[in-house]
């Protein structure tokens, strides 16, 4: 589904990604872990198409297409979804209208008929249950005055509505209490299928108690330095990132 080869990117003059290789197949959940500043969020942003980052090398194939050549909106319509670490507050834009527009833009792109009001409402009600989100939240302006947990739940709700093929969760667990974490994870687990895939970017192992990954990768200084199964996450949690750093230094010596 997604094949990243030797991806390099920088912001202004600072190189952040220094050659990432990663392949994700349908039905898989991959976790990217790593200390602060290792490039986790940069990878998520580059994949979603944020223009602040300049890709300086490598390639990304998404469902047989060159992802890096696509605009952010086309990536989304092709089935890529980024759950933002910091969802943006947009006063004056109703959450419901926004989601309806997004859903129908995607349908149009895929050559499907737009959902009418009744169909949309029905889908919305179903998905709302999934992430335990309240109607009153959706009638407000997009993320305006939402708590941290509400913003993250709204991200997962949008994901549920847009039914992406690949969802990237950028530190979705940050700032969440345990109940919100459980709700978010529960939403992800219910949306999981053999046809879609998830890339979970996180600093801590705790989210992975709820969203169990097939593969765990450790990102450090812009490179994936370790890959393994979910046990790697547990080892990291136990020993901390210093253990990886120490091991790496041993190797280079």
């Amino acid at each position: 589904m997604l094949k990243i080869e030797n991806l390099q990117a920088r912001i202004e003059e600072k190189e952040i990604l220094k050659g990432i290789n990663l392949e994700i197949k349908p039905g898989e959940i991959h976790a990217i872990m790593g200390p602060n500043g290792s490039g986790k969020s940069t990878l998520a942003s580059v994949l979603a198409g944020r223009e602040d980052y300049e890709v300086t090398g490598g390639s990304v194939d998404f469902l047989g297409k060159d992802l890096l050549e696509m605009s952010p909106e086309d990536r989304a319509k092709e089935g890529l979804f980024l759950a933002f670490q910091y969802p943006v507050e947009i006063p004056g834009v109703s959450t419901t209208n926004f989601i309806k527009t997004a859903v129908n833009e995607k349908r149009k792109y895929l050559g499907q008929e737009p959902l009418d009001a009744a169909q949309f409402l029905k889908t919305m009600k179903e998905k709302m249950k999934l992430v335990e989100i309240d109607q009153s939240l959706l009638s407000r302006s997009l993320n305006e005055g939402f708590s941290g947990g509400e913003k993250k739940r709204n991200e997962i709700f949008q994901m549920a509505m847009l039914e992406p093929k690949l969802a990237i969760l950028d530190e979705t667990d940050s700032g969440l209490d345990i109940d919100a974490l459980r709700i978010v994870a529960n939403g992800v687990n219910q949306l999981r299928s053999k046809d879609n895939a998830f890339l979970v970017v996180t600093h801590y192992q705790r989210l992975l108690d709820y969203i169990v990954p097939d593969f765990v990768h450790v990102l450090y200084k812009g490179r994936i330095v370790r890959s393994g199964t979910k046990e790697l996450a547990l080892e990291l949690e136990e020993k901390g990132y210093d253990f990886i750093k120490a091991e790496l230094e041993k190797e280079t010596v």
């Binding site: 944020r50 605009s71 952010p72 989304a76 006063p91 834009v93 309806k100 833009e105 792109y109």
Partner: protein
């Protein structure tokens, strides 16, 4: 200047020594003759070359006809039952005006009539008050032609069932047409009214409107005012809306500027009684070469008054927005709360915004704030929308509409609010 000769001739031809307004008009003519037209070296007119609008080919037409068909073609949607006041080339047209509220609530008559009947005392007391705030040539020039104006009284304790919609038609089919409407509103004690003004250039030529509307709101009055400007790129406008709070009351104004050549709006809230409340909202959505200049004044003379002001601008292509917001807090106006904000989004590479808050505070126990921003669309918000599959163009429209909506939401009359929203959505290619 040929234009001055033409104005002189026009003034002489309409002079009527037996009119009760004669003295007012001729005094003002003398003032105009002394001051002339404002020049850009005049600080108040720094960005707005109003003098250029007074070209030599300006025609001061009086004899024009407006058909019922033209009138209904330009009627604002949803206002079939509104009280309608029609001006043509700056002169009140009683025959084309119509009223739904009865005369126990609403009285409308030529200003000249009001100046000679039971309203004469009111007219003498209040007509021309705006000149204290705008002692310039064009305010005086309008006053010199005040005989064509209208007087509106909303009676004590009456709430109008319908808004008063004032249509200003300028017929430019015979050349560069000049209109000078004059309006005096008497919103009596505990009355409630909604007044709207809109401008239409018929004839396809150039036009210039130089308007003065003076509104007096008495104790416990509630007065809503909306000005919609969408006359097209060939029309210039300078207008003063002067609102005086004579007693504790609520006055609320919304100004929308969507097109025009050179547009200057003065809006004054003169708060002369304790516990007054005033609101001023404005939206200018400009493109092409349009220049829109909003000058506002809040004058707090008495304690415990509240005012809130928010003006927003979206400036595309090579348009120019000017905002100047003065707030005076006089020595006795303790416990004043006055808020002001002006926000601009520049879309065009050659668009510009000039904004200047100007607070003059002489009392020591007040809360006043002001702020202004000039910027581009929020890149983070734009990316967030695009990352959900919304196209760049649609995402921009969505954000701009969201930026504008809190001004539109201030329009109380539902049909007019929807109409304004439709105009703005069309301009932004916003469709939801």
């Amino acid at each position: 200047m040929e234009v001055i000769n033409n104005l002189t001739k026009a003034f002489a031809s309409q002079e009527n020594p037996s009119s009760p307004l004669h003295e007012f008009q001729s005094d003002n003519w003398k003032t105009f003759a002394g001051l002339g037209l404002p020049a850009i070296k005049h600080e108040e007119w720094k960005y707005t070359r109003i003098r250029n609008a007074y070209a030599d080919n300006l025609v001061i037409a009086t004899d024009a006809q407006l058909s019922a068909a033209t009138l209904s073609a330009h009627q604002l949607p949803g206002t079939d039952h509104a009280n309608r006041i029609v001006f043509l080339n700056g002169r009140y047209q009683a025959g084309l005006s119509s009223f739904q509220d009865d005369s126990a609530s609403l009285v409308v008559k030529p200003l000249e009539t009001a100046a000679g009947d039971e309203d004469a005392e009111f007219v003498n007391l209040h007509l021309g008050h705006s000149q204290k705030y705008h002692p310039d040539g064009i305010n005086a020039l309008n006053a010199a032609f005040a005989a064509g104006g209208v007087y509106i009284r909303v009676n004590k304790g009456k709430s109008l069932n319908q808004p008063v919609v004032i249509y200003h038609f300028t017929d430019s089919s015979n050349g560069y047409a000049f209109s000078q409407p004059r309006i005096l509103v008497n919103a009596a004690e505990a009355s409630a009214a909604s007044i709207m003004e809109t401008y239409v250039n018929i004839g396809g030529g150039e036009s210039l409107t130089n308007e003065v509307i003076e509104i007096c709101a008495a104790q416990d009055a509630v007065l809503h005012y909306v000005k919609i400007q969408n006359e097209g790129a060939k029309s210039s406008h300078s207008g003063t809306t002067h609102i005086r709070q004579l007693g504790k009351c609520l006055t609320h104004a919304v100004t929308l500027t969507l097109s025009g050549k050179l547009v200057r709006n003065n809006l004054n809230m003169v708060m002369e009684a304790e516990h007054g409340e005033s609101h001023m909202y404005g939206l200018y959505l400009l493109n092409g070469d349009t220049l829109a200049d909003n000058h506002t004044i809040v004058d707090n003379a008495m304690p415990h008054c509240f005012s809130n002001e928010l003006y927003k601008g979206i400036l595309d292509e090579q348009s120019t927005g000017v905002f100047n917001g003065k707030i005076f807090v006089r020595k006795d106006a303790q416990k004043t709360n006055a808020y002001q904000s002006n926000k601009n989004i520049l879309l065009g590479d050659h668009a510009s915004a000039n904004t200047k808050p100007q607070l003059e505070i002489f009392a020591d126990d007040v809360k006043c704030s002001h702020g202004c921003t000039i910027g581009k669309l929020d890149e983070d918000a734009l990316f967030y929308l695009k990352a959900r599959g919304i196209s760049e163009q649609k995402a921009k429209a969505l954000l701009l509409h969201a930026f504008a909506i809190d001004i539109l939401d201030q329009i109380q009359h539902e049909a007019i609010r929807e109409y304004a929203d439709k105009l703005i959505s069309e301009r932004l290619s916003f469709d939801f």
